[in-house]
Subunit: 226 residues, 2 copies
């Protein structure tokens, strides 16, 4: 039974990759860079987007919001002056814990590609399955909150390995935690040597400028000098 | 294609429930109360267990630790004087984001049922799928950290509805957050009217006594008067 199950899982992932390649071709044809933003529930993905997508110099951002249910995150972002599209993963059964390539594909007609340079896809809050399902993105980024503890890279190594950038969020809370930031970073580097790491706080704004710069560079646009 | 997928998912859940019933029969035969402890990554499930399982008056606790990879949580708990058993969800493919009844069943021979009254199963850190897979447990409890924000009950209602007790953890951090504890509790009650809610901090110990009392009562043992 176990071998059958592995085959089924591999089949699902193969089918997903085929659709992901079609998405990627559409993103490339539209000349839009797509960033898959992942992280645990409450790590601060939406707050980070609230702080950054509105006033990026030289790059127009759009957001695709993935959630199990509701439109809370999309509603928060709707107050910003960027295009926001919502996907729910729950039609038909209990709700998927990740976005897959087909869900993203179904949303493509609603995304105004001609108005944006970068599309940030906010994935469902989860440190496991989103890392296994490519959706056609060019870049993968995760948000890890210091409140989650130092051990998460060792417990969820696939997620930390899947991303080229780890945003360590909520560093303003470090003085109030029994937490060793250097230890977390050592664990990140142990599971993904050479990965880029930014320390930041979406709440205080510390480090957010580095993330903006990364987004602009990811779009392949040289930031304008202000 | 969508309808086929729904059928496959329903089939998986039906098969799971059959095994869950067999687990439940074994738990009942052993006269052990089983608590399925769920929550997001970093919500504080293991810290809570570290603070509570060691010196419960009148009830002997054992722990079954579910993790995608590694034995970090089991190692932390191994310093306590309670039986700890580890399950990893990663054999064969990328790792499951939840425990299912069959994984728990495979661990049963390693659990010293004659030495315990309560078995706490620490599920994989995830707010979606663990709520969909029963493992034969008698009681379901979740840990929700205040750092995850007030909106999580609305975004992950199935998890909040699945549990009869919601432990709101890390309340010592509230003064350092832009966070409204009453609003979180209103959201919990909106998706699951009448659910029990305990406010606590595994770090400072505040509220932990209420959780101990709940565990003792869940085991059906009247707590000894000290």
């Amino acid at each position: 039974m176990h071998r059958t199950r592995v085959r089924v899982v591999e089949g699902v992932l193969d089918a997903n990759d085929t659709i992901a390649r079609a998405n990627r071709a559409d993103f490339d044809a539209a000349d839009v860079t797509v960033v898959n933003l992942m992280g645990a529930p409450g790590s601060g993905k939406t707050s980070l987007l609230e702080r950054t997508v509105n006033d990026l110099t030289g790059v127009r951002v759009g957001v695709l919001e993935g959630d199990v249910q509701g439109s809370l995150d999309a509603d928060r972002l709707a107050t910003l002056h960027v295009p926001v599209t919502q996907i729910n993963t729950d039609p038909g059964f209990g709700g998927e814990c990740h976005l897959d390539a087909n869900m993203v594909r179904s949303a493509l007609p609603s995304i105004p590609f001609e108005e944006i340079d970068v599309l940030v896809i906010e994935n469902v809050g989860n440190l496991v399955c989103p890392a296994e399902f490519r959706v056609g993105e060019h870049r993968r980024v995760m948000v890890a909150s210091v409140t989650e503890g130092e051990d998460k890279p060792l417990k969820y190594p696939l997620m930390f390995r899947a991303c080229e950038l780890v945003l360590i969020n909520k560093i303003d809370l470090v003085p109030h935690l029994d937490f060793d930031l250097d230890k977390l970073i050592r664990h990140v580097e142990a599971v993904h040597p050479g990965v880029s790491v930014l320390r930041m706080s979406a709440r205080t704004g510390k480090g957010v400028e580095d993330w903006r710069r990364w987004l602009v560079q990811a779009a392949g646009r040289v930031p304008e000098r202000v």
